[in-house]
């Protein structure tokens, strides 16, 4: 067997393994999410199917496979079928670039599926291609609510993609490479990048929440507002594929955040004093970090209310985008003028930026929210007391 063929074969094997691992994680994420939400609301989650409800995902999967798979008459035949496939394909592919350990640490193989020089760009591009799946799905349903839901969702995703793309620029200036392995190695040598890019991380995590349509930015799926958004006309496995894509995107976003800002697969190095070499164990640390971020996703969902759509777009365009630009310029100025090797002031700058973001966002919101040119005059005064007609 020629060498390249064996290589290719291993890549395929790893790809399939990763895809199934992600799908299993997705299935159990739904269970974990429901149980955690239940815990946070002081009740029990699903605990009937199997011990601790562990067979619930399997039951759900079997149900969705055996459901009737029909297509509404108004739907576009090809695109309606294609959209969920596009969504899941982009979602699954993005994860392959994440390095889960040092080279040759996965039974002699590399613990990643593909390793590109422009890894970070590839990941961002692939995650943002999920927009196609959502928008095509909404359009192909041939009905009003899915169309509006799809439009809203795609507008939201592309808006926050800007903030996402711009917020990593400061990080790239420090590291000087877009290859994810280089970024992880840099953090192994210099410390986690969240120390130097605090503002960048804050902007990035907010954008990721919006990018994967999670609370508080989940209005494409706001059941009370637009029926179910782009998912309204989908059923059986196609619906499940969209859900899968969302959760897989969530896992990928967690993995990207861990890789970019939290040292990737490297663990804290002071633990080496206790167990030598523990900080370089593959998989363990990355999985721990991903789990922490997933918990954060669920926690936020249980805690925060949803934004209104106009607030959402304003937030993305008027706060996130300028703040990310400012962060880039400030980091650039510091990197250009600072003496070599002196990085702690970046932490101070980042902390100040974060504080300014938190404190100033309210003030800025008031400033930019007052419509100037749209001709909107004063709002009607709020009614005093309870309105007469019940609703």
């Amino acid at each position: 067997m020629p060498y390249w063929l064996a290589d290719l074969l291993w890549v395929v094997v790893k790809g399939v393994a990763l895809a199934f691992a992600l799908l299993t994680t997705f299935a159990y994420m739904t269970l974990v999410e429901r149980r955690l939400l239940a815990r946070m609301q002081i009740r029990h989650g699903p605990n009937r199917v199997g011990p601790l409800g562990l067979l619930q995902p399997a039951a759900d999967a079997i149900k969705s496979i055996f459901k009737e798979d029909f297509r509404v008459t108004a739907a576009d035949k090809v695109v309606y079928t294609l959209a969920p496939i596009v969504a899941i394909a982009c979602a699954l592919t993005a994860f392959g670039a994440i390095p889960a350990g040092p080279a040759n640490s996965f039974f002699g193989l590399n613990p990643w599926v593909y390793d590109l020089d422009i890894g970070l760009l590839a990941v961002l591009a692939l995650t943002s291609m999920g927009v196609y799946g959502i928008f095509l799905g909404g359009w192909a349903s041939g009905s009003k609510y899915p169309l509006l839901g799809g439009l809203r969702s795609s507008a939201q995703m592309i808006s926050y993609e800007l903030g996402m793309g711009l917020s990593v620029l400061g990080l790239l200036m420090l590291v000087g490479s877009t290859r994810l392995r280089d970024i992880v190695d840099w953090q192994g040598a210099n410390g986690w990048l969240i120390l130097f890019q605090l503002t960048g991380f804050a902007l990035f995590i907010i954008s990721s929440f919006a990018e994967v349509n999670r609370t508080p930015f989940d209005l494409p799926e706001a059941e009370q507002e637009l029926v179910a958004g782009y998912l309204t006309e989908f059923n059986a496995i196609k619906w499940a594929l969209f859900q899968m894509a969302e959760y897989v995107n969530m896992i990928t976003a967690s993995a990207i955040m861990s890789t970019l800002f939290f040292g990737g697969w490297r663990g804290p190095q002071f633990l080496d004093a206790i167990i030598p070499g523990i900080s370089a164990w593959p998989f363990v640390w990355l999985i721990l970090k991903i789990a922490a971020f997933l918990f954060l996703f669920i926690w936020v969902r249980a805690t925060l209310p949803r934004l209104r759509y106009d607030q959402l777009m304003r937030f993305g365009w008027k706060l996130l985008l300028p703040a990310a630009l400012l962060n880039t310029v400030v980091t650039a100025g510091y990197v250009a003028y600072a003496r070599e090797g002196l990085r702690w002031p970046l932490f101070v700058i980042g902390a100040l930026g974060l504080a300014a973001l938190v404190v100033g966002s309210d003030r800025i919101r008031v400033l930019v929210n007052s419509p100037r040119t749209t001709g909107v005059t004063e709002l009607a005064p709020p009614p005093s007391g309870r309105p007469l007609g019940g609703d």
Partner: protein
């Protein structure tokens, strides 16, 4: 990887198509509209805001695309690149301020 992932998607759809029951009826195939008969249309006109956002996204994403090479090569370029970046950002900010003042980003 893309092929594998796409293959899994196709597989899931095909399996589900084969396995599920098939009893279509006229009512079942109607578009969802809260129990009413759906009004004609569905691919109708929608607010121009979405076009605006898409266009602005293209502009600013191109800007981001220009930023990546600068950012990656920044360590080698130094002070000169910084002022180049500032100029570029300033030019874009002019456009940004214009659209903000124009009220393009207001949704009602």
């Amino acid at each position: 990887m893309l092929l594998i992932a796409g293959g899994i998607g196709v597989l899931a759809v095909v399996v589900s198509m084969i396995l599920g029951p098939k009893k279509p009826s006229r009512t079942k195939l109607m578009a969802y509209e809260s129990g009413n008969d759906p009004l004609p249309g569905g691919k109708e006109r929608f607010p121009v805001h979405f076009y605006l956002v898409a266009m602005l996204f293209i502009v600013f994403d191109i800007e981001t695309a220009f930023f990546y090479p600068i950012a990656v090569a920044f360590g080698k370029l130094g002070v000169f690149a910084f002022w180049e970046t500032v100029t570029f950002v300033a030019l874009l900010l002019v456009g940004y301020v214009y659209i903000v003042r124009k009220g393009v980003l207001e949704w009602d």
